[in-house]
Amino acid sequence: MQRPSYTNPPPAHSPPLHHPVPQHVSTVPQLRSPPPPAPQSQPQQSYGYNGQQQQQQGGGPSNYMQPNAFGGFMNDPTAQMGFQVGKTAVMAGQEYMEQNFNRYVNFSALKHYFNVSNSYVINKLYIVLFPWRHKPWSRQQRLSHSVGGVSGQQGANTQDAFYLPPREDTNSPDMYIPVMGFVTYILLSTLLAGLGGKFNPELLGTAATWAFLVVIFEIAIIRLAIYFLSINNESQLLDLVAYSGYKFVGINVTLVLSEVWNRGGGTGGWFGYTVFIYTYLANALFLLRSLRYVLLPDSSPNTVSGVSYTSHKSQKQSRTYFLATYSYVAQLFFMWVLTRNI
């Protein structure tokens, strides 16, 4: 029996209200009594559903076996009707929310950032922690004029160059590692606070708020700098979020190693400081090499940018200075802020 499609607008389901549902339901219990009253039995639900569809055409996509799980009160025809209406309303609400939410959060772009593989994650972690061993840092592009694209590195100027997803290009920033690092940082810092005997549930919120604020502050700095220094770059916001989230890897490593060494005494001591300085330098070098392609656009002349820039030497110099300052000074401050533990 064919189910009606789920994308019908709600008014299309109002006919079932006028459909003589109540009269037919009285004969339904005879069909439903053979299956045992197990609430989560899926095969019997489909069996019962097929048995009922012959009596109630166009009954909507609702699952009539739910009444079986609920016991006696759902056999009441009015309650079934109400349940049907409720189900329709919930589905309509979900559609509405999806349509409106898609305007604010670009889900397809997010999916590109989570398109990672295991080998990518391992390689990327390796790069973040040991950045001097990595050779080519430029992101690969795939140029496509039409549907069937021509893959390759920076070729001729076309209109539709998009970057390869993280699965295929180790240099491409992803959101999986930053998100994981963020959550791990929150849990780890709260765990370490608990090991030191100073846990209270508020710490989770405080750590989350601080980490979030650091990320937002960093992105604000970069956006302001892009505006002030006239950097014509179409890099996405999520790219910057991803780049600023990679420091959580170094921070987590610092926290774990220094706590293990100091036996729960905090992140001080010479070992803690050494690990912190090392991860800070590694993160700074990683950012320096990655953000070079974001903030200094004239170093890669083949990218798609039709705007002619009139940049003097002073501008290039100020951009370079900003990049160096951001990678080193700002990161030092932020990483220090986030590793100041008990």
Binding site: K198, T206, A207, L213, F228, R340
Partner: protein
């Protein structure tokens, strides 16, 4: 920092931002910025027949401050009023 300065909360950061923006909105142009050389005419007008310099960092900062002044005055009045009201009620 979350554990060393527990009193620095989210609301305080909001107040800091609000005060900074208030400062940008209040700063007097002809008495202060023109003296420094950040006035709206001196940064936009060229020197001796050159092009209008709108792309340098200084011109952009000046431009940003001017636009903050023009655009943010009215919302700032509202937000300031709300914050003062809130702080007065809650002590």
């Amino acid at each position: 920092m979350a554990f060393l300065f527990p009193s620095l909360g989210l609301g305080n950061i909001f107040y800091v931002g609000l005060l900074l923006i208030n400062g940008i909105a209040i700063i007097s142009e002809d008495r202060f910025l023109a003296r420094i050389g950040w006035g709206s005419t001196s940064a936009a007008e060229p020197g001796f027949g050159g092009q209008v310099d709108t792309s340098s960092a200084k011109a952009k900062i000046v431009n940003l401050m001017n636009s903050v002044r023009t655009l943010a005055r009215l919302p700032l009045i509202v937000v300031n009023f709300l914050v003062i009201f809130y702080l007065m009620i809650l002590g």
